[in-house]
Amino acid sequence: MPLPDYEKKSYKRTRTMHGNWYLASYRYKFNLSRTKVFLKGLAKGHILGLKCRSCNTVSFPPRLICGRCLVKPDQWVRLPETASVSTFSANYDADDKNRERPYPIVAVQQDGTDTVWVHNLTDKFDFHDVYVGMPLKAVWAEERKGIWMDIDHYEPIEDPAIELNKKEEEM
């Protein structure tokens, strides 16, 4: 029973093929298994890092895969709120009166971790005084919701030893 291919039927199901494609329609997939624990920790005021049992590297924010060992790390460690500046940069953006305002971006290494993430520095601080290795402390948002920005910003903490060094240099 050869069916002639020009036979016209009415179909219930039809296909649509868009002649163009927008990147915004892309459905990105992401495994939340590690992120969820991390965000729940933030809601409770805990800073959690993920430790690879094989090489003892601690990642913060948690990474799904340890590139060195090619395994999925699964050991959570509680981290202190202190951190240090790994590197920094400053941007200038305009305020509401169109005046230039420096806007520091700091790469923060949380104490006890081997990774770095980028965050805001308190805007009360002049970025000219930032230096690599400057000790910082995480400042929590007023209301913790279990999101990345629960850590609102970082602010410098006074380090007596460094103050002393500076004084010695000046002398």
Binding site: P2, W21, G67, L70
Partner: protein
């Protein structure tokens, strides 16, 4: 050519919408291949991936996959083509003598984007894209018509190939579950929806998420890793013009030339009798035949006889689940499985010599073919 051995492989079980991120799929494939070959990540010297920036929704898509692919602090590169082309890149690196172990992986996630629409962007932007008539369905339909007209083949014959592939897929544990159709009939295929006449829905493979990884090693290294490696003894790659109108769609000249080169390299004089298994990558059931014929497995227009012989695509081929960017690599891995006697459920007994093909472009513009030989006992 020096022998290069396939020493390990792993396929992530395909699915229409896998509940895994691409990152994890790559990790599973690469980790699986390393575990299979009993190797460590530090043994790898180079990592080659087959991905596509459009298919991944980000540019330089391999930069995000370094950790998952085992490429951290290693020599790494990407092929924006089929997995079979990535395997060729890895093969060249091994043959250069600079590398001892190459990891090759391909990944596809069509559940994340509209695959057919993205392929429209493959069109030439000056002529074909403004007209917007050419896409993977219409090109497949035109190719099938050209083949049927040239050799007097009927739609039923093509449907027979689709049925054969879908039945084979039912025996393959790593086929897409939705593509496993053990009870399908020719009638059902001929009554399925028309995509673009005469191409019908069941003659066209289902796109699915999946990842495949494979490890290559030079001869001496391969023999240290395993007792029964699969040797790559010949390879050929030919590209023809983009414009469909400039080609004879009923045959594949590029595959014919590529196969000629590969057979000469492998010392094969009569592929019809010497090749035991063929895993070919065709975008449609009809293209499977065109490629098998061009690879010299049968005479022109007699591809349908391969169905009776039963050594074409024992895994179900592309019809067992089409994974863009990983499919060619899956074909090589399936052929290697046959030679290692590791194909569960679809093993062809006593297979010693196999071919596997990969392609990219509308109507198989760029073809690559591998001749594989069983090593060890």
């Amino acid at each position: 050519m020096d022998k290069v051995g396939i020493v390990g492989y792993y396929q992530v079980k395909p699915g229409l919408d896998i509940m895994m991120s691409p990152y994890e799929m790559i990790f599973e494939a690469v980790r699986g291949a390393l575990d299979y070959a009993d190797l460590k990540r530090k043994d790898l010297t180079t990592v080659i991936s087959a991905t596509n920036d459009y298919y991944d929704g980000k540019t330089i898509s391999n930069c995000f996959k370094v950790e998952a692919g085992g490429a951290y602090m290693k020599d790494e590169s990407k092929v924006e083509m089929d997995g079979a082309h990535a395997a060729m890149y890895g093969l060249f690196r091994i043959l250069s003598g600079n590398h001892k172990l190459a990891m090759i992986y391909g990944i596809s996630t069509p559940s994340c984007y509209q695959y057919e629409s993205v392929r429209v962007l493959e069109n030439d932007p000056t002529f074909d894209r403004p007209i917007n008539l050419l896409n993977s369905y219409t090109s497949g339909g035109m190719q099938m018509r050209a083949y049927m007209k040239a050799f007097g083949i009927s739609e039923e014959d093509i449907a027979k190939v689709a049925v054969y592939n879908l039945k084979n897929a039912a025996k393959n544990p790593l086929a897409l579950p939705e593509a496993k159709k053990a009870d399908i009939t020719i009638d059902e295929v001929l009554k399925s929806d028309i995509l673009s006449t005469p191409l019908r829905e069941l003659m066209y493979p289902m796109k699915c998420d999946g990842a495949t990884a494979m490890i290559l090693a030079p001869e001496r290294q391969a023999l240290k890793i395993t007792d029964n490696p699969v040797w790559i003894i010949g390879v050929g790659n030919v590209n023809e013009t983009y414009y469909l109108g400039d080609r004879d769609l009923s045959v594949s000249l590029s595959m014919e030339m590529a196969a000629g080169k590969a057979y000469e390299m492998a010392g094969i004089k009569d592929p019809k009798s010497e090749i035991d298994v063929a895993e070919v990558f065709g975008h449609t059931a009809c293209e499977d035949l065109i490629i098998a014929e061009a690879a010299g497995l049968t005479d022109k227009g007699k591809g349908i006889s391969m169905v009776d012989r039963g050594n074409l695509n024992p895994s179900g081929g592309t019809m067992a689940g089409y994974t863009p960017c990983a499919n060619g690599l899956t074909r090589i891995v399936e052929a290697a499985k046959q030679l290692r006697n590791e194909a569960e459920g679809h093993q062809i007994n006593g297979a010693k010599m196999a071919i596997a093909t990969g392609q990219v472009g509308f109507c198989a513009q760029n073809n690559v073919i591998y001749v594989l030989e069983r090593g060890g006992n």
